[in-house]
């Protein structure tokens, strides 16, 4: 469990990036943190594994204050995948990259081998096992970064903009994969701008603006709230945009799921009367 209480954070240049953020992420929860560029999302989640320490306020990870432990100790339980994969990749082959964390955590060679193979398959990277990460495409490098963290199987996973540069199929896989992690009781926190992705996987949503949380709730509620979204520089998902326009005919506004959307429209058509 992650408990942030009235977290303030100032960078060295005196910019106050977080202005009193309180949030509890329960074990096994799937949470999306959304908001405009510079809202403090990445700064906030970097507190979850102790990469940053609050200027004031506290962050507890499983009851332990992050100022009283090390990033290395926290990393075993809290895996962090950066926004820009080039900030975390450095090995000569994809395989070495994924094995690096495992070796550091003291896994035995055969366990390292097994886990590397597992992570490569999971993220469709097996064919690149011996390739340099720097010869891969942007989207593929992003998956290598993800694989290298998943391999040590942390209890909580923080993904900063996991869908950037990913094609549709990879996004669907990521969605499936997050569902699997949920079934295993893992906590997943994503930082994202990708409204369509969030609409599809429907996590709890937190909206941030200028270092504060301005709204939180279930996806369907937050993603169909035009005022809160506009404040966070997020646009409505396409299905919600369509239903906002159709609401003049009596259609509900809070629809984000395409299958639900189709059902509502077909019902209205068949019954020859508007909802």
């Amino acid at each position: 469990m992650i408990e942030a209480k009235d977290v303030h954070f100032c960078y060295a240049n005196k910019v106050e990036a977080l202005k009193g953020v309180s949030l509890t992420v329960k074990d096994g929860e799937f949470l999306a943190i959304m908001g405009q560029n510079g809202a403090g999302k990445s700064t906030f989640v970097k507190h979850f594994n102790g990469l940053l320490k609050p200027s004031s306020g506290t962050v507890l990870v499983d009851g332990v204050e992050t100022t009283k432990t090390s990033v290395a100790a926290l990393a075993r339980n809290v895996g962090f995948v950066f926004q820009n994969p080039d900030h975390q990749l450095f090995s000569e082959t994809v395989e070495d990259e994924i094995a690096f964390g495992l070796k550091n955590f003291g896994f035995q060679p055969d366990a390292v081998e097994k886990r590397v193979t597992w992570a490569l398959e999971l993220l469709s990277l097996s064919q690149y096992r011996k390739t340099s990460p720097f010869l891969l495409s942007g989207g593929e490098r992003k998956r290598v970064a993800l694989a290298s963290v998943l391999a040590w199987d942390p209890k909580m996973l923080i993904l900063d903009e996991p869908t950037i540069g990913q094609d549709h199929e990879q996004k669907e896989k990521l969605n499936q994969f997050i569902l699997q992690l949920q079934e295993q009781g893992k906590t997943v926190v994503i930082v994202t701008h990708d409204v369509e992705f969030v609409a599809e996987c429907n996590p709890r949503v937190v909206l941030m603006k200028e270092g504060k949380i301005i709204a939180e709730g279930v996806g369907k509620e937050i993603l169909t709230n035009p005022q809160a979204l506009a404040e966070s520089s997020i646009v409505l998902p396409q299905i919600a945009q369509v239903f906002t326009k159709l609401s003049s005919l009596g259609f509900p506004k809070n629809v984000i799921d395409i299958y639900e959307a189709e059902k509502i429209i077909l019902n209205a058509k068949e019954s020859k009367q508007l909802p």
């Binding site: 942007g138 701008h193 646009v235 396409q238 209205a268």
Partner: protein, 283 residues
């Protein structure tokens, strides 16, 4: 005459086992807004690097076939010569920013071309304003966020006013509203000044509405090319894993299940909403 034309273009990076693009033949007319999409690793970025000669002049490797851009044979021209015609915005902004301030980065290309100081001032201010980063002009490009860096990279290219702008996932780090504003600026330049735009994107939800020429690539080859409304309507495109915009998909699902909404296949939520309002007799 086409502003960009490739004939059987095939390219293999140095020491790579197989080509990254294979037999690519495309034709782009002046003033088109071309959208290139396809699964990650399909060769989109590699193709973009050919348009301004980074391939083969910088990346070396093995290039076969023909490529003509703005009347120049790319194989025979230096990258700095091609830069007069083609502005390229890279996928990762860190790869193209280097100056000590945002303003200097945006001015760099114009200074290289020997543009008079007054004019540089004007162009740079205009580009900074268009991309919403005027207030950042004195900051170092390496101290600002990824999204802000992307704006700087776009401003640097806009300032040059090239005939062709090539953008490789230019707004991936930007929030949706900021991304939309940038795309609107680029669309405006395309409409009003006839600048040819080549945009590489996965997020068709945000961008399909701008294009009149769609290219779908897979495994280094061009699989579909032409009218976006037709290409996005086919089952093959969906099965290839192209992210069909949700509004387009909903229209196609309704049609499959017996509700022909009428009109062309929509590319945006606005289009679909209008078509539905009409179908329900509200317009």
């Amino acid at each position: 005459m086409a502003i960009i034309e490739t004939k059987n273009l095939t390219y293999t990076y140095p020491a790579a086992a197989k080509p990254s693009i294979l037999d690519v033949s495309i034709k782009v007319e002046k003033g088109e807004f071309v959208l290139i999409t396809g699964p990650s690793g399909c060769g989109k970025t590699t193709l973009c690097r050919c348009f301004n000669g980074l391939i083969p002049h910088f990346y070396q490797g093995d290039l076969k076939g023909e490529i003509t851009v703005a009347g120049e044979d790319v194989l025979k021209r230096h990258t700095y010569e091609m830069a007069r015609h083609v502005g390229l915005v890279f996928q990762n902004p860190e790869n193209q920013l280097f100056a000590l301030s945002v303003e200097k980065d945006v001015a760099f290309g114009l200074e290289n071309f020997g543009v008079p100081r007054e004019e540089i001032r004007k162009e740079v201010d205009w580009a900074l304003n268009q991309t919403g980063i005027y207030d950042l002009r004195e900051r170092s490009p390496h101290e600002i966020s990824g999204g802000q860096q992307q704006r700087v990279a776009i401003a640097a290219v806009l300032a040059m006013e090239p005939e062709i702008i090539v953008l490789d996932e230019p707004t991936s780090f930007l929030d949706p509203l900021s991304a939309q504003k940038i795309f609107d600026v680029i669309y405006d330049l395309n409409r009003k000044q006839g600048i040819t735009v080549i945009l590489v994107e996965h997020r068709l939800d945000l961008t399909a509405k701008y294009t009149n020429h769609l290219v779908v690539m897979d495994e280094g080859k061009v699989r579909f090319e032409g009218n976006p409304r037709e290409i996005l309507s086919t089952e093959e495109t969906r099965l290839m894993g192209v992210g069909i915009p949700k509004a387009t998909l909903l229209y196609l699902m309704l049609k499959r299940d017996g509700f022909g909404v009428g009109g062309n296949t929509p590319l945006s939520s606005e289009e679909l909403a209008d078509q539905l309002l009409e179908a329900f007799g509200a317009k």
